[in-house]
């Protein structure tokens, strides 16, 4: 299966296959692709461990109930699918600072880590506000 070892597929081909996967998913299980609700559930689980009585009364956590569901496994699956693909094409390597970031902001792992963390906070707040 040499095609599985190729470093890059045309984004049109990979995108079309992803589209077919989505159609099949909706047909077989009725599930559309999404990821961000899983982060709400993850936050819920973390907060439950720290302050369970506070979490129990929070409207948003009641609305998006904490559960390990289809989407939770979908999000975890993405990690393993990417791992398998990168491993097959021998591209699995540890990268702490993306090359384009390094070219502009330098090789500091701390600076990149802090920015990625803060960017993640802002991104997810916006994603949830837009309900996406």
């Amino acid at each position: 299966m040499n095609v599985l070892r190729e470093k890059m597929w045309s984004p049109y081909v990979a995108g079309a296959l992803a589209g077919l996967l989505l159609v099949l998913s909706v047909l077989v299980t009725g599930k559309f692709f999404g990821a961000s609700t899983t982060f709400v559930r993850a936050a819920n689980y973390v907060e439950q461990a720290v302050a369970p009585e506070k979490v129990a009364g929070m409207e948003y956590f009641i609305k998006e109930k904490a559960k390990i569901d289809w989407q939770f496994l979908f999000v975890v699956g993405v990690l393993f699918g990417a791992l398998a693909s990168a491993w097959l094409s021998k591209e699995k390597k540890a990268v702490a600072v993306p090359p384009m970031w390094e070219g502009r902001f330098g090789a500091s792992r701390v600076r990149r880590g802090v920015a990625a963390f803060l960017g993640g906070v802002v991104l997810m707040f916006g994603a949830r506000l837009a309900d996406g």
Partner: protein, 181 residues
């Protein structure tokens, strides 16, 4: 829900995620450099991937919908939430360089700066949960049009909208290729 159904749901979720992650890695769309290059109009790989996925899924799902085999999942149009949320999302995305699913994929590839992005996303979701009662009383009441669709608002058959969008996407793809994006 019966236990067997719940197990099947977890299994199909995992399989679908694995296949989707595989395809995203092969298209090289789970990289900071690709995502930022798209935001900087230098390399449209991720846009080609997203729009092709949308194109195929749009045609396929509406075909099945016409055959009565699937249900649509229409999200409400709330201008306050969609516009403000979109702007905030864009600022964060430009900094972290991964969206939620691609951050998981990036971690699978070994790009472990995404771990900090993922932790930030969990915190961001927690902060939103705190802010939700306030948002619900303010931003999420601004311009609430409910669950509407383009064909519904225009009062035309959905295939007219689909054909127009397919033509627009293909014109965009040809332009990307001509410009070497």
């Amino acid at each position: 829900m019966r236990e067997g159904t719940a197990m099947n749901e977890l299994l199909t979720g995992a399989i679908t995620g694995i296949l989707f992650g595989f395809l995203m890695q092969k298209a090289q769309v789970i990289r900071y450099d690709r995502q930022l290059a798209a935001l900087r109009f230098k390399d449209m790989t991720i846009v080609k991937f997203m729009l092709t996925t949308t194109l195929v899924a749009m045609v396929g799902i509406y075909l099945l919908f016409d055959l009565g085999l699937v249900k649509l999942s229409v999200k409400p149009l709330i201008l306050g939430g969609n516009v403000l949320g979109g702007l905030i999302f864009g600022i964060g995305w430009g900094i972290v360089g991964y969206c939620p699913a691609t951050a998981m994929g990036a971690l699978g590839e070994g790009r472990y700066d995404s771990v900090f992005g993922l932790l930030g996303m969990i915190l961001g979701a927690g902060i939103y949960a705190e802010a939700y009662p306030l948002m619900k009383a303010t931003v999420l009441t601004w311009g609430d049009f409910g669950k509407i669709t383009l064909p519904g608002v225009l009062g035309i058959n959905h295939w007219i909208v689909i054909v127009i969008l397919v033509a627009v996407f293909i014109a965009l793809f040809r332009w990307f290729e001509k410009k070497g994006l």
